[in-house]
């Protein structure tokens, strides 16, 4: 059927280059260093690790290698996180009190301090993005992007060091910082802005930064309120139901979903503005916005599906059934149905236009309710973060 023989093409200059041939020496150096560090960590700490943790360690090495290949700037971020986190951990000297008297920990890279820097930088980045949008300044846009990257760096350092801190409290208290609202809100800020930066590069547009960082800054506002008004930023030991390796997978997968849906909603708001003739000359065309919104929802939907399924598998281990119609589960289903319908209408019925943008925007309300509202207003098994 297929005609493949005797091909002697005349012009091969436009042929797609196979992926591995595209890689330069830097692309190889990065995974080699990463895997070497992984092996080093394993050789040093393997006696403390069980099979799951070993799998996670090497799995992380492989995943971040591939991620570095598919999106190059992430390599620098990873190196930065590793350097600052190790430096910070080193400064602790195994004493939780160090954070109060070691200069660098107190003012720069202690866990809470790094998170505070993240907060400040995100808000600054948002203002800078808006300024760049109105001043049509490419340079300011670049500054905003750098600020966002730095905020992400500080946020991840904060989480890493917090992870370490939790073990300093007591070895049995130690756990990955994904267990309460304070921690997952940081994760939310990081994932949402990282995804935004990815699309910023792919679509070569910095005009949406202000929009996306608006939702990130709201999350920052929540973190600040939660820290100063509720003092909920302290590290709490894990309740028995959360002591599971599933937490390391279920929670981040869910937040890729939440982050992507928020990103889509903010892009949708930009789309609606353009549609109404506002800021048209400053924002990307509605085609680009529409496409970006679709891409974000697709990624979000895929990850949200995986997260919900993994949640069900975890529930089967922890609660005695993969589906208990718990409030959080049910709302996850509603969010899922909402975006499934969105995608269905777009992909199958070919629906386009402001209606989908409005829907994506309202979808954020549904998502926010599933994420926060359930914790605030409804009771159930999944009450790990309370307000």
């Amino acid at each position: 059927m297929a005609n493949k023989q005797n091909l002697t093409p005349t012009n091969i200059s436009d042929d797609p280059v196979p992926f591995l041939s595209q890689l330069g020496w830097k692309d190889w150096l990065y995974p080699i260093v990463l895997m070497a560090s992984t092996v080093f960590a394993y050789s040093k700490y393997s006696q403390f690790m069980d099979a799951y943790e070993t799998t996670f360690l090497f799995g992380a090495g492989i995943v971040f290698s591939l991620l570095g290949w598919s999106w190059k700037p992430v390599r620098l971020l990873l190196v930065g996180i590793a350097t600052l986190s190790l430096l910070s951990i080193n400064l602790y000297h195994g004493d939780l009190e160090s954070v109060n008297h070691v200069f660098f920990l107190k003012f720069l890279i202690g866990s809470q301090t790094a998170v505070m820097w993240m907060n400040v930088l995100f808000v600054l980045a948002m203002l800078t993005y808006w300024f760049a949008l109105f001043a049509r300044s490419a340079f300011t846009g670049k500054v905003a992007t750098s600020l966002t990257w730095t905020a992400i760096l500080m946020g991840f350092v904060g989480l890493m060091v917090r992870w370490y801190e939790s073990y300093l409290i007591a070895p049995d208290v130690g756990h990955i910082p994904l267990s309460n609202l304070y921690e997952v809100f940081i994760l939310f800020c990081l994932i949402t802005s990282l995804m935004y930066l990815y699309y910023e590069q792919r679509y070569a547009t910095k005009q949406l930064g202000g929009f996306v960082l608006l939702v990130v800054s709201s999350a920052v506002g929540f973190i600040l309120w939660y820290t100063f008004s509720r003092h909920a930023n302290s590290i709490q030991p894990l309740v028995p139901a959360l002591q599971s390796y599933w937490m390391k997978i279920h929670v981040p997968a869910n937040f890729v979903g939440y982050g992507a849906f928020s990103l889509a909603a903010m892009v949708a708001s930009a789309y609606l503005l353009v549609n109404k003739g506002i800021l048209v000359s400053r924002l990307p065309s509605s085609d680009v916005l529409d496409d970006l919104m679709y891409k974000a929802i697709s990624v979000g939907f895929a990850f949200f599906t995986i997260a919900t399924i993994l949640g069900a598998v975890w529930a089967a281990e922890a609660w005695g059934g993969y589906w208990s119609w718990d409030a959080k589960e049910t709302w996850a289903l509603i969010v899922w149905l909402n975006y499934a319908a969105w995608l269905h209408l777009r992909l199958v019925k070919g629906l386009r236009g402001p209606m989908l943008a409005w829907w994506a925007l309202i979808g954020l309300l549904v998502t926010t309710f599933a994420f926060l509202g359930v914790n605030m207003f409804l009771s159930g098994l999944h009450s790990y973060g309370t307000l």
Binding site: M1, A2, N3, K4, N6, L7, T8, P9, T10, N11, I12, S13, D14, D15, P16, A170, D172, V173, H231, Q236, P237, V239, P240, A241, Q243, S244, D287, V288, D291, Y294, S298, F301, A302, T305, I306, I309, A312, A316, E317, A318, W319, G320, G321, Y322, W323, W325, T330, L333, I334, L337, N338, A340, A341, L343, L347, G350, V374, L378, S379, G380
Partner: protein
Amino acid sequence: MRFAVSVLTVLGIASIIGTVLKQNEPYANYVIQFGQFWFDLFEMLGLYDVYHSAWFLVILVFLVASTSLCIYRNTPLMLKELRAYREQATEKSLRAFSHQHEYSTTQSLEQVRQDVSHFLTVRSFRLKTVKHADGSELIAAKAGSYQRLGYIFTHVAIVIICIGGLMDGNVPLKVQELLGQKTVESRDIPANEVPKKSRLSVSNLSFRANMTLPEGASADVAFQRVRDGYMVQELPFSIALTDFRIEHYPTGQPKSFESDLVIMDPDLKAPLKHTISVNHPLIYKGIAIYQSDFQDGGSKLNFDVWGILSPEAKPIPVSGTIFGKTEFGAGANGLQLEFIDFRKFNILNLSPDGKGKPRNVGPNVTFKVRDTAGQAKEYVNYMQPLQLDGRAYFVSGMRSSPQEEFKYLRIPADSNFEMQGFMQTRAVLFNKALHQEIASRFALKALKPSDDVAVKNKFEASVVQLLGAFSEGGYAEISRLIEASVPQKQREAAAQTYIKIITGAAFEAYQLGQERAGIKNVKVDENTQAFLQDSLNAMSDLFFYGEPIYLQMTKFEQREASGLQLTRSPGKNLVYSGSVLLVLGIFAMIYIRERRIWFLIKPQQKAVLFAMSANRKNRDFEIEFNRYQSQLTKLLQS
């Protein structure tokens, strides 16, 4: 499909109801919450267990049916599309495409065919060549055809997941109930007396049942909650609990719940010993046994019972068992103590602003005191004094009905952190025979030696009167006394004077109480004053405590019970495989882009017609088309 989407919408709304209205509460709670009328209506609609109500299941079945129908109708078409190259496309139809371009070329047919084939192949297109009678050739190519599988996978997945879910839901039970073969038991009777109609046999396909096993006990049945009653689920083995453990973090929060189980089964050579914990169930004979919760399993408790209104300061020892009843006193004043729950650890945040750290405040006991008329009040007493606002108090909560919040009585602990000091002072103050003695002692201190006998007598009389009132109803009685005998304008001043007198008298009562207890050289310091102030407040509150006794726990021997959940869910694997299919399908649908390309090579006109289409035209497609178009210009016109 429109039907399926509407069904999904209804499903979504129904699900929301279930999250807003608390599910599977005891029916009495709903009656209290909604009133009888709404309760009946909601019950009829099955709103107390939405997800297992008949109409909800019917929606699910409709969803399965309509999705299946959708798959049945569209799959052959999709598979045909997946395989087809559409090589029948004519020049006319290709020209009608929105994405097409004609190139003029000087190259030979063979050269073009070769270049174009190569062009397509390196871009992962699969192609088919058709020679036409007029000497032209059509190359039909396609890529990303497996996108179509995405539709099939996702829809099949939804059907599989729903079927799995329906299997594990209580559909079989529902059917049996409708046929009248099974009924729900709502009486509180031992499991072995439950009639066959309310028992589910070992062969029951799927269930989710609960079992509460005290340490040292064993059972071979579990209970499945159905609406306002239950059914007995028989098990193919019996489970014994040898030990239940809770470990705590240094902060007092629970760290782990573990049950040491022994499975006894005639099929086993030796009993199977296994420890389960949260996140680590045991699966035996297809039945998963989970650590679900825990409660008291009948702890033995010892109490000192203090008469709180009597002129005595001697406690009566009483013992009891959780879930047991103990008679106290006899005749018309007889009381029945019903012990409900014992908790060894209580993590409370007692800091005044609520910002401090929660900590373990030690054991408490919940019990009811029932009088001969059958009226009961519920109490919760803490064994050890709690630190409140920097001082130590014995705390007891009281309420007359489960809807009320507990109201708390705080009895100050004495300098030895015991109840003795308070009870001695109280016994003296509430003992009318001693009021004259208190008054005399107080008069000695309060009056100058120069005051004459008449003044002294008057003073003593008023002290005795005040103490009499206080011992009959606390400050409330004093205020009644004031209202009855003092003109309005002077009441404030009188109240202040009276409180001063009571406080002074309490000081004497305290010393007298200590002396009566055999303590010489009663020590008095700044704490005494605060202690007495708290004592007077507590004594006043005793009149609202409901019953004339206070139970102080002195000893406990804890016996715990582990709450197990037992499930058999044959649909689980179906649901999991459906989930895998769903993920594959979603990725195929979103990330595989189906595109078709045609090249009509026309040697006579020295032209090549390039046309491209996709079932989803989006920005990526436009970009790809434009790229190919310019690449082909180079390729064909060079």
